[in-house]
Symmetry: C2
Subunit: 241 residues, 2 copies
């Protein structure tokens, strides 16, 4: 049996009961070294197959091979494994494999949901997830999505907003968003949510400091009704109060 | 202290450790009767303040009043409390209140994430959440969002897709989506996810039976690359395999 387990944004607190149970009962754990570190207290006595960043295909292949021998194995992925995580890749590779295995995807709290709770309630109306990483999606497709989302006043959660290899993607995305949204639109930033160095900031598009944003940051851009009250970012659902 | 707790889509398995801990330690639990029933085993010895549907404002107000007396109280909300749940309303009302209270939002697994894991991995690329309930958002705003999301080939998660009071909203949304997406686009349906009568179906837009869809159903419409393999709905992230 292959389990594909979302371990939440960072702390054991935000793992689901099922993720905890699966990790407790599974002897072999496969994952990117950062995620393995996050759950190290839970997997002390287990066999660990850990690889670095960009080793995703090898990692999934290895987990599938282990499952094909009849053993139980869990691939761990941060947040929810099905959102920019390992679930899709593992299912794709398993579908191509000749020897079929049983697979269960165990859902988790994705980074935007963790960041949103820490910031207040910015996702109370329709929202999108867009990854600004153009490693695997063409930049024209990404910018088209940013444009469409801003034009219809979605709340926008930006994953992978900025890295050393692509320092300008966030700036370019914000410039597109500013075609439709006011520069005073509320923006929330959640960095390292549920991890030791967690930081939240609430600002406006015009005052956003890009230096606050890196690959472990989620940027949440409000809709035209999003406001700040008592230090929290709130997108109204629409109740008359 | 007021806790606003997302209890996940339905089963205790999909609750976070923090949600379980908060409910265990809090003496007064406020919630819609359906959600109170879902967690009844966890709250046997507690004081329960339960109200029916559409009692959201009264429920939040009551919880805030209890917290203002200095007691700990938890409002429970299905899925994640910050996604079409109770977090926004509770924060809005608390911000208006004169007597300030401490508030913590405890994130949860939202319905789309639970449904996606049961269906496979449909949310592996950029996606939107759109509620088709026009009780609080004008239908023109909703249809504009559906149009924008489909035009940029987002994966689209439809919340509140169809009810007795609005039997045609799903049909109208699908007609807009079909301006841009092929009738063969893969659609996943998750009904009562993580509850006893759970049903998943994978079909195509052209074959979707609207009778399979009601208010406890999440409809996930794929992007142009979404496919079905080994009975699972997969949206590729873009790895070359």
């Amino acid at each position: 049996m292959l389990y594909i387990v979302g371990i939440g944004p960072g702390s054991r607190d935000l793992m689901t009961q099922e993720a905890l149970d699966v990790i407790a009962k599974t002897e072999i754990i496969v994952g990117y070294s950062t995620y393995i570190r996050i759950i190290r207290d839970l997997i002390k006595d287990k066999e660990i197959v850990s690889t670095g960043m960009r080793g995703e295909v090898a990692r999934c292949q290895k987990a599938i091979e282990i499952a094909q021998t009849g053993k139980d194995v869990a691939i761990v992925s941060s947040g929810d494994a099905g959102i920019y995580g390992m679930a899709g890749l593992a299912l794709e590779l398993a579908a191509k494999a000749e020897a079929k295995i049983d697979i269960k995807v165990v859902p988790g709290v994705t980074a935007s949901i963790g960041a949103a709770a820490a910031l207040g309630a910015p996702l109370m109306n329709d929202f999108c997830h867009i990854s600004l990483s153009d490693l695997m999606t063409p930049w024209e497709v990404i910018t088209k999505r940013v444009d469409a989302a801003a034009s219809a006043d979605f709340v926008i959660c930006l994953y992978n907003p900025r890295s050393k290899g692509r320092p300008n993607n966030l700036r370019e995305a914000l410039d597109i968003i500013l075609k439709y949204k006011s520069p005073e639109t509320v923006v929330g930033i959640g960095k390292d949510v549920a991890r030791p160095k967690e930081i939240e900031k609430i600002t406006m598009i015009k005052d956003l400091d890009e230096e606050d944003v890196d690959m472990t940051t989620i940027v949440i851009i409000g809709n035209k009704n999003t406001y700040v009250a008592d230090g929290r970012m709130i997108t109204p659902r629409g109740y008359t109060l």
